[in-house]
Symmetry: C2
Subunit: 370 residues, 2 copies
């Protein structure tokens, strides 16, 4: 009863598919969006609120939890699910991306990456083996291999060197993993170079993982490049394993990537935007502080079934935001997370009813197209 | 079907009593504690969470809501209950205390108080009539008369002069109030001078209100003085009207004041302490950031039935607090508000079972006594 993945439908006119991930902590319908719970909390939401938004799986950041409160502490508290009171599936990243984006004095070595904590300046060496060990201590359902995240832009040689490291680390991660119900996913790097991406894909698949991720996206590259990589390489991944597009993305990005065959997504956009007073709807992104909402008695989205939309007006949300109230962040986050899970529900519904391409075209045209 | 107050039991060995306030927005068991919802939100809680804590009535601040978003806006949004989605009773203060404590360039005039907004420096004149008008626009169930809050310490002459103003303003407030289901409470000032407190009491009761408050407490005076005033004057208030001890207080203060005959309390202590990582229990006040909780798997209070205590460990709450997470404030606030409402439930239970004085003695001795 370990980690399994089933596919229900394949879309006849695209590479999209609908399926289910089964873990020891429950089942996850795919395509799925995972809200980001960086420090063992999806910012500003209680686990009950996360569940009520229809979330089935969240992502937690290994880098943050390793530094604070420490993976040993979480292990002693019976693992991350128990610690944060989230009984459903959790995916942990490897920490590599946060070392790349947050840590000070980062130094890449053949055996791993040396860095200084952004919290207290302490020095750490994160190796592929250590990343697996930390994630095993956290007890996540899906672990990710430590990769070297190639920056954008990068030369061919830089990218190749970085990729060789990632592939080597993938092998070491695979070897380090203890037998358990925890799944381990490989990450395909290779930047913006087709042959390197192809090489990454072949070599990583050869090692053999429970699922595969396209990495090195959402690192500042133009949308066209991200779309091209998603288009060229998602459906080239093994058909019987979950495919995860890391760090993606906007609602439009997700709908497009589903058509390329991606099953899993994570992004801080819904939660971070909420804290900045941006609310997603199908029509427009609402800037809640705008004076036009001062006496607006309608909810953010009249078609939405979330707690915020069922109970509060734009006028009240505007007031909370301008007054700097914590409740502004809570209610905005509830709505945006629910917007994303509803989007995934609509995508799965369209797949079930064999009308995904129609849904995709309508959705992307409505947004101004891609 | 206006505002009514019923008494169920009077304690045989103290002035304590158990009763019920009935408003058009529902009933409130007394003695009651009202969490403070300054800007139309009890900081960091959703209305559902407030209800789940067993809260029956909240307090909102007229000063803040008048300045932002404005009472006319709230009136246009069908009143404060609808605006903030809190269908249960609301008490609004008059704004006088916040003008006293927050506003810039405050100037007392015979007709009211001139002040500058702490938000944008704009000038305003708050008169007794205006305070009633604002509270009528907000639509609160209980309105308070504008009073002049005498500072501590103050000379006899300062206090007398301030009191004369408060009594005159009480008359003007009473005259300004439109007939409605909204109740209006008078406020007894008089500082630390018995004869002035007595005069305030007689004159205010002569005007005739739906309830009476002891004001000018919790303004920096020693606890003994507050206890003496509560002891001497609470039970001197009309027996058939609710008695409200404004701004009180700690759990010990409340238990003591109930024995003096007080029915209603409000204070920022539970919510503000929560945001600073202090958690109330019957045994000790927990400082959640302390290293001793690093791997503590017990909840803040094993006897507590709140969402926080039912689901989270001290170790997790410590992690959230140290990591600066919003969820720390949410979960801590849920617990502290529930601690206060449970305290009031225990007080009412003791009154019902004719053992309040025993409860009081045990509670206060357990805390080191008074």
């Amino acid at each position: 009863m370990g980690f399994t993945f089933k596919i229900y439908e394949k879309d006849p006119t695209s590479s999209a598919r609908r399926g289910k991930i089964i873990t020891t902590h429950g089942e996850v319908e795919t395509p799925v969006f995972m809200p980001v719970g960086t420090q063992g909390t999806v910012k500003s939401l209680t686990p009950d609120e996360i569940k009520n938004c229809g979330v089935e799986m969240i992502l937690a950041n290994t880098y943050h939890l390793y530094l604070r409160p420490g993976h040993e502490t979480i292990k002693n508290m019976d693992g991350l699910h128990h610690f944060m009171n989230w009984p459903r599936p959790i995916l942990t990243d490897s920490g590599g991306f946060q070392v790349y984006s947050l840590a000070k004095l980062r130094k890449i070595l053949p055996e791993g990456v040396m860095f200084q904590s952004h919290i207290d300046g302490s020095r750490h060496l994160l190796t592929p083996q250590k990343a697996v060990e930390i994630q095993e201590a956290l007890g996540s359902d899906i672990m990710m291999c430590l990769d070297d995240c190639t920056p954008y832009p990068a030369t061919y040689m830089q990218t190749k060197k970085s990729l060789d490291l990632t592939i080597n680390w993938a092998k070491l991660s695979r070897e380090a993993k203890k037998p358990s119900a925890q799944a381990l996913f490989g990450i395909i790097q290779g930047g913006n170079y087709k042959d390197l991406r192809q090489k990454a894909l072949e070599e990583t698949v050869k090692i053999g993982f429970d699922g595969y991720a396209l990495g090195g996206l959402s690192v500042g590259e133009p949308q066209e490049i991200m779309y091209e990589i998603a288009h060229n390489f998602t459906n080239a991944l093994p058909v019987d394993k979950p495919r995860y597009l890391m760090g993606v993305g906007t609602p439009e990005d997700i709908v497009y990537a589903v058509s390329c065959g991606a099953d899993m997504f994570d992004c801080v956009i819904p939660t971070r935007s909420a804290r900045h007073g941006l609310l997603f709807t199908n029509d427009e992104k609402i800037v809640i502080k705008n004076a036009r909402w001062r006496q607006s008695d309608i909810p953010p989205d009249e078609t939405c079934d979330c707690y915020t939309c069922k109970n509060f007006s734009r006028a009240y949300l505007r007031h909370l935001y301008i007054a700097g109230e914590i409740l502004a962040m809570i209610l905005n986050t509830i709505h945006n997370v629910r917007y994303y899970t509803r989007l995934m529900e609509r995508i799965r519904e369209a797949l079930k009813e064999n009308r995904f391409t129609q849904f995709k075209n309508e959705f992307l045209n409505n947004k101004g197209g891609v």
